[in-house]
C-alpha cells in the first residue's frame, strides 16, 4: 500500500528548479526519511505534499486523493514544521483548542506526549513567553494529537534537548507500530539510522537514491548511513 505518490513532479521558483521531475511512492505504515544537503528540495517536496507549494507540473496523490486545491485530505495529516509560530498573545491551551475546533475533533488531551513533555503546566502561558524548545514540543503535540494516518515531520528533533528528542523518537516508533505512515527529514543522520526503514536521497531536486536503508549501506559498503550518504554525495558507488 502506498500512502503518498508523486508523478513527474516539477517545481520551479523563477529560473531555479527546486524539484526536477520526481516520481516516487512512499510506502504506507513505514518510516521514510528524506535526506539531502541544504537546498536539495526536501522542504519544497514536503510542502508540495501539504499543498503549501503548488507544483509547476506533475501530480501528487495522498491516500488516493489527487491534490489540486483540495484541503480535506489534510485531515489525515499531522505536520510538524521546522519552526511554527502562533500568535503571540494566545495561550498554549487556546492554540490546542483552536486546532481541535478546526478539525472538529476533541483531540486527546491525555495524550502521552503532553504528559511526557509535561506540557500541562504551560497551558496558561502565552506563546510569546515560551522557549524555543517548548514551542517545538507544542508543535510535536499538535502533529500527533489527532492520531493522523500520515505524519510529516520536518527536522523533528532540531531544537529539542536530548531528553525530549528521545521521547519524540519513542513516540514516532510507537506510532509506527500502530500502522501509521511517517515521513521525516533530518540533518542528523546518525539519529535516523536506528528507526528509519526507507531513505530517499535528494540532490539538486532529483532523487539519487530511493530504497531501504540497509540496502544503501550494503551497496555503498559503508559502515553506517552517514557514510553511505557521504559516498552518494561524492558520487562513488550506486
Amino acid at each position: 500500500m502506498t500512502a503518498i505518490t508523486a508523478e513527474n513532479l516539477i517545481k520551479d521558483f523563477g529560473d531555479f528548479r527546486a524539484i526536477d521531475k520526481i516520481s516516487l511512492s512512499i510506502a504506507g505504515g513505514e518510516i521514510t526519511a528524506i535526506v539531502g544537503p541544504n537546498g536539495s528540495g526536501k522542504t519544497t517536496f514536503i510542502k508540495s505534499i501539504l499543498g503549501l507549494v503548488k507544483p509547476t507540473s506533475g501530480n501528487i496523490i495522498v491516500n488516493g486523493v489527487k491534490l489540486n486545491g483540495t484541503f480535506k485530505y489534510r485531515e489525515q495529516i499531522g505536520y510538524m514544521p521546522q519552526q511554527a509560530s502562533f500568535p503571540e498573545n494566545i495561550t498554549v491551551k487556546e492554540t490546542i483548542d483552536l486546532l481541535c475546533d478546526i478539525r472538529n475533533k476533541t483531540g486527546d488531551l491525555s495524550e502521552e506526549l503532553i504528559n511526557k513533555f509535561n506540557l500541562q503546566k504551560e497551558y496558561n502561558k502565552k506563546i510569546k513567553t515560551l522557549s524555543g524548545g517548548t514551542k517545538q514540543k507544542l508543535n510535536a503535540v499538535i502533529a500527533f494529537i489527532f492520531d493522523p494516518e500520515i505524519l510529516i515531520l520536518d527536522e523533528p528533533t532540531a531544537g529539542l534537548d536530548p531528553y525530549a528528542s528521545g521521547i519524540l523518537k519513542d513516540k514516532i516508533l510507537s506510532v509506527r507500530k500502530g500502522g501509521k505512515t511517517i515521513l521525516l527529514t533530518s540533518h542528523i543522520l546518525s539519529e535516523l539510522e536506528d528507526m528509519v526503514e526507507n531513505v530517499i536521497f535528494l540532490l539538486e531536486g532529483s532523487i539519487r537514491y530511493n530504497g531501504k536503508v540497509n540496502d544503501l549501506i550494503e551497496r555503498t559498503s559503508s559502515s553506517n548511513l552517514e557514510r553511505a550518504i557521504a559516498s552518494l554525495i561524492s558520487g562513488v558507488a550506486v
Binding site: 484541503f71 489534510r74 511554527a84 494566545i90 478546526i102 478539525r103
Partner: protein, 263 residues
Amino acid sequence: MKVLSKIVKYQLQDAFRSRWLAAYSLFLIVFSYGLISLTGDSSKVVLSLMNLVITIVPLISIVFGTVYIYNSRDYIVFMLSQPIDRKILFLGVYLGMCVSLAAAFITGIILPILFYANYFVNNLADIFIVLISGIFETIIFIGLSFYIAIKNENKLKGFGISIFCWLFFTVIFDGILLMILQQFQDYPLEKVSLLIISINPIDLARIWITLSYDISSLMGYTSAVIKDIYGTGWGSFITILLLTVWALWPLLLGLRNFNRKDM
C-alpha cells in the same frame, strides 16, 4: 462559515491582548480628548477628527497590516497545513485585523466624545459619518497592506511600497491634482476633477465628511463641485458606493494572490 468564525475569534483573542492595539486606541483617546478640551468648538473638533481619519488611520492600518502578514508567516504556513481552505484562512485573518483595528479606532474616538457628550448634541450625524469613514479607511488600507505584503516576498520592499502607497494617497495625489487643475485652469474641469478624485479613497472620505457640512465650499474645491452636481444625498450615496468598491478590490486581489501563492 463555522471555521471562518473560529479563526476570526482566535485572531481577535490575540489582537485584543496586543499592546500595539491598546497603544493605538490610547493615542486616539488622548488626541481626541486633547482636541475637545483645547478647542471646545464641536465643528472644529469634527474637522480635526476628519483629518485624523484621512491621515493617521490609513497610515496605522497599512503599517499594522503589512507588519502583521510578514510577522505571521510561520503561523499562516502552519495553519495552511491544517485542513483549512486557503480562502477561509485569508478571510479570517483579514476580518480579525479589520474588526480589531476598527474597534480600537471607535473606542479611541467615542470615549472622549461621550465624556463631553453635551457639546456634541448638534453634531451627532457628523460624528457618525466620521466614524463610518474611519472604518472604511481602516478596511481599505488593511486590504491594500495584505495585498502588498502577499505580493512581495521581500519585507523591505513590501514595507516601502506600503508607505509609498499611503504617501501617494495622502500627499502626492493631491499635488498632482492641483497641478493639473492649475495647468488647465482655462477649461471647465469640475467633472474631470470629480472623476480623478473618485479614484482616491482618502479624498472620498474627505468629500463625504465635508459634504454633510455647511462649510463644504470652504473645505475644498471638489466637495463643493460634488455638492453642486449631486446634492448632499446623492453625493453621499456615490461616495459610499466608491468607498465600498475600494474596500473590495484590494481584498479580492489579495485573496486571489494568496490562493496561488507558494508558502
